[in-house]
């Protein structure tokens, strides 16, 4: 564990940074999902399986899904309504 945990923390920092730096929302969705997954693994490593399960369900599935749908909604309406 002593080696894995620091690595997981670093991964979290990197994937969080990636979410910020990927400025195109369509690609950012994937960064968000990856970030959620990394967080879930980190939480499991920190002996928090309850939290990991929540993060897996919410952070890497439900939330990216909402982002995707929001993107789709924005796309479907843009051609006709953009002034």
């Amino acid at each position: 564990m002593t080696v894995i945990l620091p690595l997981l923390f670093l991964f979290t920092a990197i994937s969080g940074t990636a979410v910020v730096l990927v400025r195109d929302p369509a690609r950012q969705v994937f960064a968000i999902a990856v970030n959620g997954l990394v967080l879930a693994i980190l939480f499991d490593g920190l002996q928090a399986p309850d939290v990991a399960l929540s993060e897996l369900a919410v952070g890497s599935a439900a939330v990216p899904l909402l982002f995707l749908v929001a993107l789709m909604a924005v796309r479907t309406q843009s051609p006709e309504e953009k002034p």
Partner: protein
């Protein structure tokens, strides 16, 4: 304010905050050295006091049940807000049936996808139920299970198409599920008061340690959360999906004037 000024301001703030943050981090107990007395104590007494194995569930539903009550109603507020804000434009009347979006190609679904979804759907539902039911013994609980169950309904969307999904799921039922679950949870607080106990006091038989039905009142609260979360998240997905208005049925242009 131009972006450059903004970043300069941020950098300035960071410069001031950095030494402070360093000092705070240095003052914290080193990572992994010790845990707080409160958590230690809960680990020590709760298995015996409440006959449950999962401490996190015990905290969420018993020791600090009030927080979860607040959290559940926060979810309810958010979902009610989402519904109000998304329906504001579409109008209430249109929620009963699937909306159509003119001029979008219908992508035919392959048999394999439908089959996969019909198999995966019930499996997801089963897994969700498992997670809900084992709240007090293994990781998971009403919230996690509820989210999984709600995601399971999305498989209906993938497999049966948007219209089928809308046919299977009614917004009114979801309201009832969500409100009913939250109501059940709130009543779990009030009913013990009728017997003279404290709000949310665990007055039911506690069951046997490591048994599925251990924890007494926690099981009912867990069920309330599961109902509320399932209803709430499905409602959320439903309302969001409505925004994309997939065209699955025959197209009738001009029905919806955007």
């Amino acid at each position: 304010m131009s972006p450059r000024v903004r970043i300069a301001l941020l950098a300035l703030a960071a410069l001031v905050l950095l030494p402070g943050a360093a000092e705070v981090i240095a003052g914290l107990p080193p990572f992994g050295s010790t845990i707080a007395q409160y958590g230690e104590r809960i680990n020590a007494i709760t298995p015996e006091a409440r006959h449950v194995a999962n401490m996190v569930s015990a905290i969420n539903f018993d020791l600090r049940g009030l927080d979860t009550l607040g959290e559940e109603f926060m979810l309810l507020a958010a979902i009610t807000g989402t519904v109000v804000l998304l329906r504001g434009r579409r109008g209430e009347g249109n929620t009963g049936h699937a909306m159509r979006r003119p001029g979008r190609a219908v992508i035919p679904r392959s048999e394999a996808v439908i089959l996969a979804c019909r198999i995966a759907g019930p499996l997801t539902a089963l897994f969700g139920l498992y997670v809900v039911l084992h709240a007090t013994v293994t990781p998971g609980g009403g919230f996690q299970g509820g989210v999984i169950l709600a995601s399971g309904t999305l498989l209906i969307y993938l497999g049966e198409g948007y219209a089928g999904w809308r046919q299977a799921i009614h917004s009114h039922w979801l309201d009832a599920l969500e409100g009913g679950g939250a109501l059940l949870f709130a009543l779990c607080g009030l009913v013990p008061m009728l017997t003279g106990a404290a709000f949310m006091q665990n007055i039911l038989p506690l069951g046997i340690f490591r048994d599925l039905f251990s924890g007494g009142l926690m099981l009912v609260e867990n069920l309330g959360v599961a109902l509320a979360v399932t209803g709430g998240f499905t409602q959320l997905f439903l309302e969001f999906m409505e925004e994309t208005r997939a065209a699955d049925e025959a197209e009738e242009p001009g029905e919806e004037s955007a």
